[in-house]
């Protein structure tokens, strides 16, 4: 083999400084993006439905309070109606962001993979990371609250046997 004067070919160093995604993987990413975008849109529709439920519950509870015959019925029921909206509002906000991240991942990965644009793909992966992270944090909070409620309930239950 003769020595050659060639311009430096763009040979990747070993180990590669960047991760290369081949054609097959790009297709997988594109399909994942298609479904992710679809699921994100479905999530937005679900958020809208929950928002409707919120408005409905908020509008109906004062009316139901007015029908209550007890003397303290009206303010209590209206307050309970507004209070019941808080967890619903929280669920709506969380659900919105989960779908939003998924939708952003889907659209950006589809556009980025089509034109090999690293910036779009990086943005898509950032949204994918946020999507999984948000779901994970929600689950951790739910598990922790269950455990705390379990412990508190057990303590209360145990304390009923302590009184002589």
């Amino acid at each position: 083999m003769d020595s050659t004067e060639t311009t430096e070919p763009i040979v990747p160093d070993y180990p590669l400084p960047h991760l290369l995604i081949g054609q097959e993987a790009k297709n997988y990413l594109y399909t994942a993006g298609k479904w992710a975008r679809f699921l994100g849109i479905l999530g937005f529709i679900g958020t809208a439905i929950i928002a409707l439920l919120c408005v409905f519950a908020g509008a109906v509870s004062p009316i139901m309070g007015a029908f209550s015959s007890s003397s303290t019925g009206l303010p209590v029921s209206a307050g309970a109606g507004a209070l019941s909206m808080v967890p619903l509002l929280l669920i709506m906000i969380l659900y919105f962001f989960v779908s939003y991240f998924l939708y952003q991942f889907g659209t950006n990965i589809k556009n980025g993979v089509a034109v090999n644009d690293m910036q779009l793909v990086t943005k898509a992966f950032r949204n994918l990371k946020s999507h999984f992270k948000l779901i994970g944090i929600i689950l951790i909070i739910i598990i922790v609250s269950y455990i705390v409620a379990f412990i508190i309930g057990g303590l209360i239950f145990g304390s009923t046997f302590m009184h002589h």
Binding site: M1, P9, I21, K129
Partner: protein, 175 residues
């Protein structure tokens, strides 16, 4: 420039056929993979619990029927007892639970395989592992999407069927 006999260097053609993911993208992918493995493991736990529920829901209902005498009273005079209705339902519930457990198992499996694989491939810049992991990610989202479509169409069918039955019954009453 002399002609050379060199083994083909891994020179990208232009435009690049492969996508290059830089440090920032790799970090995001790696973090996504970490959370994905956590969600996958959590999903496996939920699958186990669902299977347990499928197994025990039948005996739970019959136990409730025996313990609570109120459940043994017939719902309608001469009709079936409330507890026997519940035992009939428990079979349906068991079946649905098993279906849900299978669905959730594959969901978590795909997510877990994606997570572990992408963590490894971003650490070692391994394209082959990244390829397989992204296939799992695609399967994960595709499974969710297809199942959602099936469930929505199922609900729509039941809704339309109920309307049709209602219209049919109303028209039959008028004749």
């Amino acid at each position: 420039m002399d002609t050379t006999e060199t083994t083909d260097p891994i020179v990208p053609d232009y435009p690049l056929p492969s996508l290059v993911i830089g440090e920032e993208g790799k970090y995001y992918l790696h973090t996504a993979g970490r959370w994905a493995t956590f969600l996958g493991i959590f999903g496996f736990v939920i699958t186990g619990l669902t299977l347990l529920e499928a197994i025990f829901i039948g005996s739970l209902f019959s136990l409730m029927g025996r313990l609570n005498p109120a459940m043994n009273m017939p719902t309608t005079p001469g009709g079936p007892a409330a507890s026997s209705i519940m035992s009939a339902f428990s079979g349906v519930i068991s079946f649905v639970c098993v279906l849900a457990a299978v669905f959730y198992f594959f969901l978590s499996y795909y997510l877990y395989k994606f997570g572990t694989g992408i963590k490894k491939s971003t650490t070692f810049n391994d394209s082959v592992t990244a390829n397989k992991s992204l296939e799992y990610l695609k399967s994960h989202f595709k499974l969710i999407g297809i199942t959602t479509i099936v469930i929505i169409s199922f609900y729509l069918l039941i809704f339309i069927g109920a309307i049709l039955v209602g219209v049919f019954a109303a028209s039959a009453l008028h004749q």
